[in-house]
Structure formats: C-alpha cells, structure tokens
C-alpha cells in the first residue's frame, strides 16, 4: 500500500529500513545499495513554488519541462497530505518512485527506495535540469559537522578537474581526479595524512562521510548514514526516525546558512530619509592558485554546464583578472564576479539565491581546490553557528 501522508510514509520507510537491515545482516550484504532508504535534500525556489495552490501540478510541469530523453511515464501526484507529493517515472525503462516531503516550504526531502543507480540517474535527468529546483550543496565543513553528530565510521574523497579543464589540460595535470573510500574509525587519519603531506592537499576533497547515528534513549534504533556533498543521504540501520532526525538537523543548519548568506550578502541600495544606503556584502572564495590555466577554468565555469549552472562571458584583463556579468541558470538571476587566480569575489543581487553561493563553494572544493573557503564580512560562511545547532553528542549511540 502506498503511503498517503507523511506519518504513514515514516512508518512504511521505518519498516522497510529495519526489515532490509535484518535481511542484509543475515545475508551479509552490507554494501549493496538496492532497497536502502535514500533521501535527497532539495532546494525549491520559493518565488516559483510559494504561491502555487497546485503543488503537484506545478512540480509535474517543471520536471516534465526539464526531463531529458530516457525519462518516460513521468507522473506527479498529490496525496492526502498537502505537503507530500509522489513523483514517479521510468529512467531507461527502470521504475523510480520518490515521495517528496515539502513540509518545509523551501527545502524538500525526496525519499526513495529505488537503487542508487536508478534514483541518481532519474534526478540527474529531471531535477538537476529543472530551473526551479536545485540540490542542497554540502561543503566540506558541513560534512565535517555531520561527522561530529554521531559515531564517525568512514569517508569518501572525490576530486575531479573535469568540469573546469579540457581533456588535454586535465591529462597534463599532476592529479586529474582522485576518488577514495575509507571505512573504519581510522578513515580520518588517512585523510589527514593526505592533506598534510602537501602532495595532495588541493585534491583531498571530502565528498562523503559515514556516521552511525541514533537516539541515545532508544538503543534499538539507529541509522548508519552516508551523507554526500550533493545532499544525498543513504541510510542503513534499524530506525528511519534516527535517519530522519539527522536529515532534519542538516536541513535546519543548511537553511540557516542560506538565510544568513541571503540576509547579509545580497547587495542592495535602500532608501533612507532623503538618500540611499548600501546594504550587503560580497562573498570571497579563497583558494590555492590552480595548476589549471586561468583563462580556461574561468571560461568553463561560465559555460552553462552542470554543476555550476552559470552563464556569462568573462571579460579578461591580462592573465590574472576577469570580470563576469553572469546569470545563475538555477533561478535566472544575475550575479557579478571578479576573479583572480587565488580568489573569486561574488556579488549577489537583490533576488540572488543563497543556494548558488553554497553550490559554487562545494563544487570549487571538488574541482579546483579542496581547501577553498568562502568568507563574508571576514567570517567563514560555513562557520556560522546557527542557533541551536551546536554538536549534539547525546545522539551518539551507546
């Protein structure tokens, strides 16, 4: 039976998750991903969806508009719960079904039991190309925060110069791409060795953490979640409630980061008395100068392609400065950039989306320099400690 409201969905996913965990434990199939609960944290443009009475209809048309060949039987359905939608379709013939919890107006949770291969491909061909919806982008410091919320048990590194370099330039790079998964408590030591030797610092990009998380008051329920930079959570374990709790805490922290960036970063001119005052601040990304040719990576960053989704024609001034009047293809709003080999200054407009700031940070860390940091008014934007978001060690399982 298909869940018709969010409470029923939670119960259904809880039962399936626990059942699947026990079955896997018996068969010792810990690493297979089929049948595991996956949750994708999405960001929906509130200006598009906020006023819509027919959320399923609107979601359906947006996703349908952006769906690429290979996606068939696309359907968006309402449920008895006004904030729960069902999105389904076939991706190259294989069925994918998502339950979308839109109880937060802007940050949606797309739950599925489909295999990673099908679910990832489905979202890539639909949501990732949809102008009204974006992923949540978790930068390195957010992933490190997640790792502190429970018992850290592994990590994945993922660095790829591909999006910013031509094939020829990538081939001549010292390290073109680096992927590594390390499970176990010493995983962090492995990462630190790679980071601190100096050899692979710029490429040691944390892209995934694995954490065992559960309610300390209920030892029987826990989740082992893999949390990825693109907002994907894959849960193994016995408690969907524990998984949902972790997801909600990341959702809350992420939404506060975006809110902070938008409130303080959007540049605007406000009317005061009989004049105007400047408000807002620029976002500065700092990184180690890349081995990549400056003009090449800057040009490709604004080529409209995923993952950056930025449109613009860089106006170069010599070999070490560029100015770009860009447009964010996610929300269709302008952004201005000033770029040097070791930093990018981003100037948001009044309606610019804060998610773009985080998308750029997470993807610069994966494609240019793992150590990229973003500051606003001299403070790290990811170092913002949102209210009530201190590490909660009560959730570490006994």
């Amino acid at each position: 039976m298909r869940p018709t409201d969010r409470r029923e969905l939670a119960n259904t996913l809880h039962d399936r998750m626990a059942g699947s965990y026990e079955a896997r434990a018996r068969k010792d199939e810990h690493d297979a991903e089929d049948g595991l609960v996956k949750t994708y944290l999405l960001e929906a443009d509130p200006s598009c969806f906020g006023a819509s009475d027919d959320l399923p209809g609107y979601l359906g048309s947006c996703v349908k508009d952006s769906a690429r060949p290979g996606i068939t039987d696309l359907r968006s359905e309402a449920t008895d719960d006004s904030r729960l939608l069902r999105l389904s379709g076939r991706c190259h013939g294989r069925v994918a079904e998502f339950h979308i919890d839109a109880s937060h107006e802007r940050y949606w949770l797309a739950h599925t039991m489909a295999s990673s291969r099908v679910a990832d491909a489905f979202l890539k061909q639909t949501v990732d190309r949809c102008r009204q919806i974006d992923r949540a982008w978790l930068d390195v410091s957010m992933l490190e925060w997640v790792a502190q919320q429970g018992q850290f048990s592994g990590l994945g590194l993922d660095f790829d110069r591909g999006p910013l370099l031509s094939r020829e330039s990538a081939a001549s790079a010292r390290v073109d791409s680096m992927k590594m998964q390390v499970w176990g408590r010493s995983a962090r030591d492995v990462m630190e060795v790679l980071r601190t030797t100096g050899e692979f610092g710029p490429e040691t990009s944390l892209a995934k953490v694995k954490v065992r998380y559960g309610d300390a008051d209920d030892a029987s329920g826990f989740t082992i979640d893999e949390v990825k930079y693109n907002g994907k959570f894959t849960a193994r374990g016995t408690s969907f409630m524990a998984h949902a709790d972790l997801v909600h805490r990341v959702q809350r922290r992420y939404s506060r980061m975006i809110e902070h960036v938008e409130r303080h970063g959007r540049l605007r001119v406000e009317r005061v008395d009989r004049g105007w005052e400047f408000r807002g601040a620029c976002i500065t990304y700092q990184f180690t100068p890349s081995c990549a040719p400056f003009r090449e990576w800057v040009g490709r960053m604004f080529s409209c392609a995923l993952p950056f989704r930025l449109w613009g024609v860089p106006d170069f001034d010599g070999d070490d400065f560029a100015r770009v009047a860009a447009l964010d293809l996610h929300v269709g709003q302008p952004l201005d950039f000033e770029i040097a080999p070791d930093r990018i200054r981003l100037f948001m407009h009044e309606a610019s989306c804060g998610n773009t700031v985080l998308r750029l940070l997470a993807n610069l860390q994966r494609t240019l320099d793992a150590g990229t940091r973003a500051d606003m008014n001299g403070e790290s934007i990811s170092g913002v400690q949102p209210q009530g978001a201190q590490p909660d060690h009560s959730n570490v399982p006994r």
Binding site: D273, V313, F316, A325, L327, L329, F347
Partner: protein
C-alpha cells in the same frame, strides 16, 4: 548615505560643480563631494570650485536636508600609493582636501582629514571595500559599448528565462542599475539613449531571431521603446536549457567581439566548445 551620482549644482561663486558622488550624513552633519582621480588628472580649477561650495548650495541646489550638510567639503580618491605625490601637487596649489587611497581591498585616508573623528578614525585605519562592487553602477556614459552589451545581453536572457513577452527601455535602467533613482536625471537620459541605440543594434544583428522592435507600441502617443520577444527558446518545454543558454552566450560573445572590433582592436577567441570567453590580444582593456 548616497544622495546623488553625477548631479550638478552651483556653488557660492555661481559656478557649476558635478561631483561623481554626493553623500551626506545626518549623523555627522557633513556632506562630501567625491571625486575619483587616476593621479595625473588632478584638476586645480575643479578643486577650487568644490572648495567654494557652501552648505546652502548643497541644501538648495542638491535638495539635501540642511541637517545633513551643516558642513561640506570634497574628498579626492586616488590609486593606492599615490597619496603623498598628489598631496604635493595640492600643496603647490595651496589647496587642502582629504586624499584617500584606494586599493583592491580597502579605502584609506592618506593625507589630511575631514576634521570629524567619526569619519577620520575609521578611514585612517582603512575601510574594506568588499561591499562596493562595480555593479552598483555597472557602466557610465564613457563606458565602451561592449561593456554595455554584456549587461544588456544578460538582461535579455533573464527576461527570456522569466518568459516575459517583451522588454521595455523604461524598466532596463532600474534592472541594471541598483542606484538608478540616485543617478542624475541627465545621466539617466543619456544612459537610456545609449541602451536604446545598442538594443536596436543587437536586435538587428545577434538577437535578430529573438527580438523585434515592438511596432504596436511604437504607434502610441506615449512612445516607450519596447522590444517584443519573437522567439523564446526557454518557453518551449522541449528545449534543453543548457543548449539554449549556450546559444545566447555565443550571441553575446559575437556581439562583444563585434563592438570591440569596432574600436580597432584585435581579438582572438579561446578554443574549446565550453569556452566562450573573449580575450584582448595583448591590448590593455579600455
């Protein structure tokens, strides 16, 4: 707060002054007439006219609240490192004005001061300028056409993504300039004229398949220059957004190159399907 950008008024000697920016603060009750100089272009006559401005001139001629301009004076901003050299020039002319040095990261009081601790103290330390992007005033009347083209093309793309049926010249200024209402009326008129000419040029060339001067509106008594979007690839559900955006990017690059070429510069294009940037071949940017 900013009161005006490039608005002229008369000083007590009945001469015209036109500061690049006029700011006034009800808190410190002082108005400042800002001039940006490259160093070599300090103008003795211009500075003399600024020094002859009295509070009444600002209150009446520039419509500033009298409490915000009980005192008034100029401030000259020069590139980082040129403060003492420019100060020597002012000394020769027997003139005194606050000189500020502007670097990539901050603006700092170099020589003299305003005589107001609330202004002098932070400016002597240096104020970060990361909040002052060019996008407040992305181009001015002296800007080369290709710079204006970049911003117009972005506005066209934005309009198409919002699936609006037409663009009106009257809404462009407000969309492109955050400080549009603060610009002097004469500056707004000239900028609109420049944008209209370039829109006509673009709609006859790189944007010919996308835009058309809206004839229905042209016939009206109140003539507002308007362009109808005759082909919007983003309105078609079957369009690949990335592909359509790249086509507009190529059109932008072509238009920029054409307008740079018109200024007798040579350009080369970077190679690669994803790289639409344009680079001047060893020619300094205007």
């Amino acid at each position: 707060m900013v009161c005006w950008v490039e608005q002229w008024f008369r000083n007590s000697d009945d001469s015209r002054v036109k500061p690049e920016i006029l700011t006034a603060s009800p808190h410190v009750r002082h108005a400042i007439m800002w001039e940006w100089k490259s160093g070599g272009n300090l103008d003795q006559d211009q500075l003399a006219r600024y020094l002859a401005v009295r509070p009444d001139d600002v209150a009446q001629g520039a419509f500033v609240e009298p409490q915000a301009c009980e005192t008034v004076g100029p401030a000259v901003v020069v590139p980082d490192g040129l403060g003492s050299r420019c100060s020597g020039v002012l000394a020769q002319w027997q003139m005194e004005a606050p000189l500020l040095e502007l670097s990539d990261t901050q603006i700092r009081l170099s020589v003299s001061g305003f005589g107001i601790p609330e202004l002098d103290d932070p400016l002597q330390q240096g104020l970060p300028i990361t909040r002052i992007p060019i996008s407040y005033v992305p181009f001015d009347r002296e800007a080369p056409d290709y710079v204006v083209v970049e911003h117009l093309m972005r506005f066209v793309l934005q309009t198409m993504l919002e699936r609006r049926p037409r663009l009106e010249l009257s809404s462009m200024g407000g969309a492109l300039f955050r400080m549009w209402p603060a610009l002097a009326p004469s500056m707004r008129t000239e900028l609109e004229k420049q944008m209209e000419q370039l829109m006509a040029d673009l709609s006859a060339n790189e944007l010919a398949r996308y835009l058309e001067r809206d004839k229905a509106v042209q016939g009206q008594v109140t003539h507002v220059p308007t362009w109808a979007i005759i082909h919007n690839p983003f309105a078609d559900p079957t369009t690949d957004i990335t592909h359509a955006a790249r086509a507009l990017r190529k059109a932008t690059r072509d238009a920029v190159l054409r307008h740079k070429g018109g200024r007798q510069l040579q350009f080369r294009e970077l190679t690669g399907p994803d790289d639409g940037s344009v680079v001047p071949d060893g020619t300094p940017r205007a």
